[in-house]
């Protein structure tokens, strides 16, 4: 059954021009051409057709993506390429794609991007199996990221996201594993975007004992050293 316009058009072209013509395009493993639907921070978004094997950098040049810092290929479930990967090629053997090509300029916050995708997956998830689709895994990731968002936490939080992600492999649907893969991708490639939001790059407990005593201090009208938990004063935690 051919229910895809791109396939239908290609079948028609192959019927007219022959298989050899089609096989002459693209790479050895990925013959023919690919339609790319280019969107995001580019001067000329739209549908572009390239022979398979085209470098990501060429696509970026052609659509006027001068300051791209990342490209999300093949939608939220696809792969996120950082600048150093722009020489990679659109092809089944390198970066496979269904066609989506989302460009993120240098001014975008890749943490926000990942968070949006996590929300997207949580919203789209069916909730069938335990590990991820929106129920636990995606929900967890969301929770983790939403908590990171207001600018606290530490690298252990990122690590726990990672352990959540590790657990998604048994999930039944690709859509279950993908959110985890996305998180991995952005965590590995855009680490500063995450680290900017961390209070400390070393371990810091999520629960601040001293801060938890603040209301007790207020009620008793005390603020002497003995009313504080015996931790070295911290720049942020000491405020309230």
């Amino acid at each position: 059954v051919v229910n895809n316009v791109e396939t239908l058009c290609k079948a028609a072209l192959i019927a007219v021009r022959g298989g050899a013509w089609f096989a002459g395009l693209g790479t050895k493993q990925s013959t023919g051409t690919k339609l790319l639907s280019i969107s995001g921070d580019v001067e000329s978004p739209g549908i572009y057709e390239y022979p398979f094997g085209v470098a990501v950098s060429q696509v970026l040049n052609d659509c006027g993506a001068g300051n791209a810092q990342a490209v999300q290929v093949s939608g939220p479930s696809g792969s996120c390429l950082a600048m150093h990967e722009f020489s990679r090629r659109i092809a089944f053997e390198d970066v496979p794609t269904a066609g989506a090509f989302m460009v993120f300029g240098a001014h975008r916050d890749m943490f926000e991007v990942a968070r949006n995708f996590a929300h997207f997956f949580a919203h789209e998830s069916c909730g069938f199996c335990t590990p991820v689709p929106g129920r636990h895994g995606t929900g967890r990731q969301l929770h983790g990221q939403d908590r990171q968002w207001p600018a606290v936490r530490n690298t252990t939080s990122a690590r726990s996201s990672r352990s959540t992600a590790c657990c998604t492999r048994p999930a039944i649907a690709g859509s279950a594993r993908r959110p985890a893969i996305r998180l991995f991708d952005t965590l590995n490639k855009f680490r500063p975007a995450y680290e900017r939001r961390l209070r400390s790059l070393d371990f810091a407990p999520a629960f601040d004992l001293d801060q938890a005593l603040a209301s007790a201090r207020q009620m008793t009208g005390r603020d002497d050293p003995a009313a504080h938990f015996g931790l070295p004063p911290r720049s942020v935690g000491a405020e309230s």
Partner: protein, 245 residues
């Protein structure tokens, strides 16, 4: 699952406790215990809880939905798999309100038994604390929706065996939950009865028979007596019924 048993046991890490019951298995009779919650030998495999995840020929698959083949190499009781299973248990624990000491299913609960079996020491994740009203409308059965693990065993039993369609899952993603098929949403307004198989398949403490909660005292219940990993495969709740009868 014959033919799987030897590679699976061969892969069992040295020194780990044997989880081989006498003659039954989680699948169909290989004599090897595979943790599971949504699987029940009397129903078509569903493959949603993922607790039975094994590695078959190097790939993660649900044991309940993957037919065993000759020569298939299955990894079951490995640290890697048990870590994943434990994490999934933790997810299930925080998704519902599972406070074993105050739950009358304690000792007969598969979720609790597996948590012991897989040595789950903490919930690890932040609790969701669902706040779903219990349904005490039915004369013989109480429903506590806050303990549902969405295994759909009651859904399947009511639909496929009882022919009543009393239960269903509604919603998606994080909002997915068990509902009762009545205009009012109340169990009393269905033709549900204690004689239904659906009344006896819940692996956790959602569907509870009234006035029988402590007929068997805690300490003498199914998984109090012997760890789940040592028990032969039989429906958890038919065991409960036997004990309570």
């Amino acid at each position: 699952m014959n033919g799987v048993s030897s590679p699976a046991s061969a892969r069992r890490p040295a020194g780990s406790p044997s989880r081989r019951p006498d003659d039954h298995g989680s699948g169909d009779g290989a004599g090897i215990f595979i943790p599971h919650l949504c699987h029940h030998p009397e129903f078509k495999p569903q493959g949603s809880c993922k607790l039975c995840t094994v590695k078959a020929n190097g790939r993660y698959v649900s044991a309940c939905t993957m037919p065993a083949k000759d020569g298939m190499e299955v990894e079951n009781n490995s640290p890697d798999l048990n870590d994943k299973r434990r994490t999934m248990l933790q997810m299930l624990f925080v998704e519902g309100n599972h406070f074993c000491p105050s739950c009358e299913k304690s000792g007969n609960c598969m979720l609790q038994a597996l948590a012991y079996e897989l040595e789950m020491l903490t919930p690890h994740f932040t609790q969701f604390y669902p706040d779903r009203p219990v349904d005490a409308s039915h004369p013989d059965v109480l429903l506590d929706f806050n303990r549902c693990i969405l295994c759909e065993l009651c859904v399947r039993a009511s639909r496929d065996v009882d022919g009543k369609n009393v239960f269903a899952l509604s919603g998606r993603g994080i909002g997915k939950h068990l509902i009762v098929n009545a205009e009012s949403g109340r169990l009393a307004d269905t033709d549900f009865s204690l004689a239904d198989q659906a009344a006896h398949v819940c692996p956790v403490g959602v569907i509870l028979e009234k006035r029988r909660g402590f007929a068997v005292p805690i300490g003498s219940r199914r998984y109090d007596v012997e760890p789940i990993g040592m028990q032969v495969e039989r429906p958890a709740t038919s065991g409960t019924r036997d004990e309570q009868a």
